[in-house]
């Protein structure tokens, strides 16, 4: 009696096109064209939100027309350093984290570069304790969040 288990191979390949919407589009264009990180403002609670949102989910109202430029410096509120390879992600090691840029009420995520990551604990000690960082724009920009990264000040 044959007890061989049959395995069937399949692959998913679906194309999607995600609209960034008006607000998201403007935010990304500002990265690419003006080397600026922008935030929008909630007319009720006054939060400056970056990355930019079209509405405040707490007050549940659309943002007003105000756009604020935030940064270029800020505080690294949290980070991690990745040592394990994951398919679809960059080759390790790399560090990234959340930074509350000056003028913003929320933190924005991006890579943190320029730190020697060879020893995890030493590297972590440098990034721990909410150090100051600055946003640095790439020479070639595409209107993607990765048009900038952070470096320790």
């Amino acid at each position: 009696m044959d007890t061989e288990t049959v395995f069937i191979k399949e692959r998913w390949d679906i194309e999607y096109e995600h609209s960034a919407g008006e607000v998201g589009s403007r935010f990304l264009r500002a990265l690419r064209d003006d080397e600026q990180i922008l935030g929008t403002v909630c007319p009720h609670c006054g939060r400056v939100m970056t990355p930019a949102r079209a509405f405040c989910e707490r007050c549940f109202v659309k943002v007003n027309d105000e756009w604020r430029s935030v940064g270029p410096e800020g505080t690294l509120d949290s980070f991690t350093i990745v040592y394990e390879p994951f398919e679809g992600l960059p080759d390790p090691p790399y560090a990234f984290g959340y930074v509350t840029l000056d003028g913003s009420d929320t933190a924005i995520a991006n890579f943190v570069r320029g730190v020697d990551l060879s020893d995890p604990d030493i590297a972590a000690a440098r990034l721990m304790g909410e150090p100051r960082v600055r946003s640095v724009f790439e020479k070639e920009r595409q209107g993607l969040i990765t048009d900038f990264h952070f470096e320790l000040v």
Binding site: E17, G21, F60
Partner: protein, 343 residues
């Protein structure tokens, strides 16, 4: 239990393409405004959407906020707006909630629902055989016409579409017997309802469309196993009508059927008790705003049937309205709701 607010968001061709978040927010905000309620007066949120259609694994992560879920008890029912509405109602009936937002959406541009539904075919027996929602809808149509040979199914389907589609679809056979014109083309958009228990009705801006009957049921997965073919649908109709104390729609009742294809509409109209299909397909009381042939935001297109049915009650255009919604290939899952003027 009743619907006290309705909101919709539909991409407008002359405007920039909204993000999915924009659509959900606009619909949820509009539903709250319609009900005259603020978000902090709502206790819960129930979402209905498909990750695969949205193009994200766990799309409610990004979407819960726009749908009004921030710091709320929010839960997502996958792919089935009728089940989502039922769950929202049960949460209120359980006495734990007083009110709920129910929100459904689909993205613009909309990916191929045929390609995506193909992936719902089981890998052992269906995936390699060309299975998709469209293929099963076609088999369902063929099977129905076979059982009702005295009816001219194609003419009825054509008549149903003619009155409701702004642009005539093509003659081309898409998936026999369905021609392109028989299929409601999917698009993006969002629909939101505010559902509330009776204690909240006095606060609602324009009263409530009371839900007097509701039922949902699922048929076997393989279309070939569904014998009789429409037992889930007829069972859901029977249970919903029994709860509402009715036999069939009366003259003047509004009927909203989930017309993902014209044949789905015919099958539903018949199951709901509209015996004269010739009359039903041209009736101004059936899919009054054009149903899915005017706008088909997939999962939200199902919720829109409940929206339109309750709108007829809230706007005093009928004293009773019935909505039928479906999900899954060939309408595997069926939901039926009866709305009446709140006493």
């Amino acid at each position: 239990m009743g619907v006290v607010g309705i909101g919709k968001a539909r991409p407008r061709p002359e405007e920039p393409v909204p993000s999915l978040e924009d659509l959900a927010f606009e619909a949820a905000r509009a539903a709250l405004d319609d009900a005259g309620l603020e978000r902090d007066q709502i206790d819960g949120v129930v979402l209905a959407a498909s990750d695969q259609i949205d193009g994200r694994a766990i799309s409610s992560m990004v979407m819960a906020g726009p749908a009004g879920g921030y710091l709320k008890d929010e839960i997502k029912v996958a792919g089935d707006a009728g089940a989502a509405l039922s769950l929202a109602i049960m949460r209120i009936e359980a006495g734990v909630f007083n009110s709920s937002l129910v929100v459904a959406w689909a993205p613009e541009p909309t990916p191929s629902t045929v390609q995506i539904s193909h992936l719902a075919g089981d890998p052992l027996y269906l995936r390699r055989t060309g299975h998709s929602d469209l293929a099963v809808a076609a088999m369902r149509a063929a099977s129905w016409m076979d059982e009702h040979q005295s009816l001219d199914g194609v003419s009825l389907a054509d008549a149903f579409v003619a009155d409701r589609s702004p642009v005539p679809g093509s003659e081309e056979v898409s998936c026999w017997p369905l021609r392109a014109r028989h299929i409601a083309r999917p698009g993006g958009g969002a629909v939101a309802l505010v559902v509330a228990g009776e204690s909240a009705w006095p606060d609602a801006r324009r009263g409530a469309a009371a839900i007097t009957g509701m039922a949902w049921e699922t048929a076997p997965y393989f279309f070939g196993d569904r014998q009789p073919r429409e037992s889930a649908l007829s069972s859901a109709v029977r249970h919903a009508y029994r709860e509402a104390g009715m036999q069939s729609p009366a003259n003047g009742d509004v009927v909203e059927v989930h017309d993902a294809t014209a044949f789905d509409a015919l099958i539903a109209l018949q199951a709901l008790g509209l015996k004269d299909l010739n009359q039903a397909v041209s009736s101004p009381l059936v899919n009054r705003a054009g149903g899915c042939f005017t706008w088909n935001p997939v999962v939200a297109g199902a919720l829109d049937r409940a929206a339109e049915a309750s709108r007829a009650i809230l706007e005093d255009e009928a004293s009773r309205a019935v909505a039928q919604m479906q999900a899954g290939a060939g309408g595997q899952s069926q939901s039926v709701f009866v709305f009446e003027k709140a006493a």
